[in-house]
């Protein structure tokens, strides 16, 4: 199998810099990390100097993600040799046990860390993910609540998927609101919030969802999901019997605008292909079928 450096014709410095870039951006491209990192460790370990420890950590976590237990074990052993008494390394060994599904032993590791240092957020996060993996969602939610009391609000990210799973959309909305406040310019949160509101239903929520779909579109013009969402929520409101005539008119205007944008997008996508005309017709039919009719 060709090595990474041969395939892409790069030197070890570029590989190391690429790993650093991935580390800073928190990318989860574990297979790539394993490929690049494994070669870096095996061939160029001596040239890396002190960087090697953090690369070990990065590669180990990626290896656990790709089920490469052998590589993970090697990295862990090197780290344990160097930093024998470290909380950070202990957490890594706990993660390895988690990956092997030995949850009780992993829990013991994390509890030991927390006893030493109750404010260690990393260990708490891992405990919660163990509960999640074991399917004990109620306990996981409880632990999360405790954890959230002492942590950065950004952690709401992982928590909101829980309530969705259990149809407690109110809680999911709460979490998303927190996320929107901390990251006001992230269009994905706006869009997911709008979807949660749409699922909750009810006229007020539909209006809110329409507004947030529009906000998501304003933040990122290319968010197709938000565009469709806007169309759906606007037509839903327009079709509802309880609205006043003005609201109905406004919403039909919004829905029509959204429909034209969708058509434009599909035209752009299909340019240069012969089936353009047919696909445009398909889009129009789809839009019509999505119309919510009063039953």
């Amino acid at each position: 199998m060709a090595s990474v450096s041969e395939m892409y014709d790069v030197g070890w410095e570029e590989m190391r810099d690429k790993l650093r870039k991935w580390r800073e951006e928190n990318c989860r491209n574990s297979e790539q990390i394993v490929d690049v990192g494994e070669e870096l460790i095996s061939e160029h370990a001596s040239k890396l100097g002190d960087d090697i420890w953090i690369i070990y950590e990065q590669v180990m976590i990626a290896a656990l993600d790709c089920s490469r237990d052998d590589l993970a074990l090697t990295c862990l052993q090197e780290l344990e040799k160097q930093f024998s008494d470290s909380h950070r390394v202990k957490r890594l060994s706990g993660m390895r046990l988690e990956a092997l599904e030995r949850y009780d032993e992993a829990n013991k590791d994390y509890d030991a860390i927390l006893q030493d240092d109750p404010t260690n957020t990393a260990a708490r996060k891992r405990k919660i993910s163990i509960l999640k993996a074991q399917g004990k969602s109620a306990e996981a939610i409880r632990e999360l609540n405790e954890y959230l009391e002492m942590t950065h609000p950004q952690l709401y990210q992982s928590t909101y998927c829980f309530p969705c799973h259990f149809h407690s959309y109110g809680k999911a909305a709460f979490c998303l609101e927190e996320l929107m406040m901390t990251n006001p310019h992230n269009h994905l949160y706006c869009e997911q919030y709008a979807e949660v509101k749409y699922t909750q239903g009810g006229l007020e929520n539909l209006e809110l969802s329409r507004k947030y779909f529009a906000q998501a579109l304003r933040l990122n013009n290319r968010n197709m999901r938000a565009l469709f969402g806007l169309y759906m929520s606007a037509s839903h409101i327009a079709a509802s019997p309880k609205v006043s005539a003005k609201v109905k008119k406004d919403n039909m205007k919004y829905a029509a605008w959204a429909a034209t944008q969708i058509n434009r997008a599909y035209k752009l996508a299909g340019r240069g292909t012969k089936e353009n005309k047919c696909s445009m017709k398909a889009v129009e039919e789809m839009l019509e079928s999505m119309q919510i009719t009063m039953s």
Partner: protein
């Protein structure tokens, strides 16, 4: 004013002015590293962490509350500020202002602070005064009144000398404060050699008394939150959005990023 300009021996420049600069600078650098070595670990309690998190949450609510619906904003504001059981009203942390004598860790911190900063300054100031005494070192570029003479002309007993001519001790003190910006350039912000900053901290006094501040911080947040109003940023979002066509540039590009590099 027909005061004849004094011409100083250029040896003074070589052997007094420059050495004092170097001495001050290197002593500062050494102080920085010594303070790093002597730094004690600060252990945070869980309560402190959660308190600071609550303050952060409230601040974010104030700043970005306009992005969430009015109902949610009011709900959160109510949680924090409610008359009976709002968080900021209800939570009174037990405040034990740590007096320097009783709290051992604070005592050692203060000792270390004194040793690393004040002591060297006194020692070196005195040594320079003793070594480089008896002659005029430099002239400050602005005129000074006679009251400054005893302060700035330590070893020189000349009644008729203009107060602008100063001795080496005052040049040393000038350096201590002047090299502050050099330290930030070389050692980065927040360095241990920055004496004037430390002196400022000691004067403000409350620098070490963080727990006492929690109650005050809560009160300040409560007031600030009371004042904030909800101006929904999404009032006219649809109109804004539909005022122009969507920009689909780059959505369907033929080229996909391939591979790792």
């Amino acid at each position: 004013m027909a005061e004849p300009e004094l011409l100083l021996d250029s040896n003074i420049r070589l052997w007094v002015v420059l050495p004092i600069v170097f001495i001050t600078f290197f002593v500062g650098v050494i102080r920085h590293y010594v303070s790093i070595l002597l730094q004690s670990d600060k252990k945070l309690t869980l309560e402190q962490v959660s308190d600071s998190q609550v303050l952060i949450r409230s601040r974010i609510l104030r700043e970005n509350g306009k992005y969430i619906p009015k109902q949610s904003f009011l709900m959160r504001k109510f949680y924090f500020n409610n008359q009976e059981d709002g968080f900021f009203k209800k939570t009174k942390r037990k405040v034990v202002p740590p007096s320097p004598m009783t709290d051992p860790s604070m005592l050692t911190d203060m000792m270390k602070g004194n040793v690393t900063n004040v002591l060297p300054m006194i020692l070196i100031g005195g040594w320079i005064n003793w070594t480089f005494s008896g002659f005029v070192t430099t002239k400050v570029p602005f005129p000074l009144t006679l009251r400054f003479k005893p302060m700035l002309q330590q070893g020189i007993e000349l009644l008729s000398l203009d107060a602008s001519w100063v001795s080496s001790a005052s040049w040393y003190f000038l350096n201590v404060f002047g090299l502050r910006s050099m330290y930030s350039l070389i050692l980065g912000q927040d360095n241990g050699a920055d004496q004037s900053r430390i002196m400022q901290e000691q004067m403000s006094g409350a620098a070490m008394a963080m727990p006492a501040d929690t109650n005050k911080a809560f009160k300040a947040e409560w007031e600030a939150l009371e004042l904030t109003d909800h101006q929904w940023a999404l009032e006219s979002v649809e109109e804004d959005l539909m005022s122009r066509e969507l920009d689909f540039d780059g959505m369907f590009s033929k080229e996909l990023p391939s591979g790792i590099f």
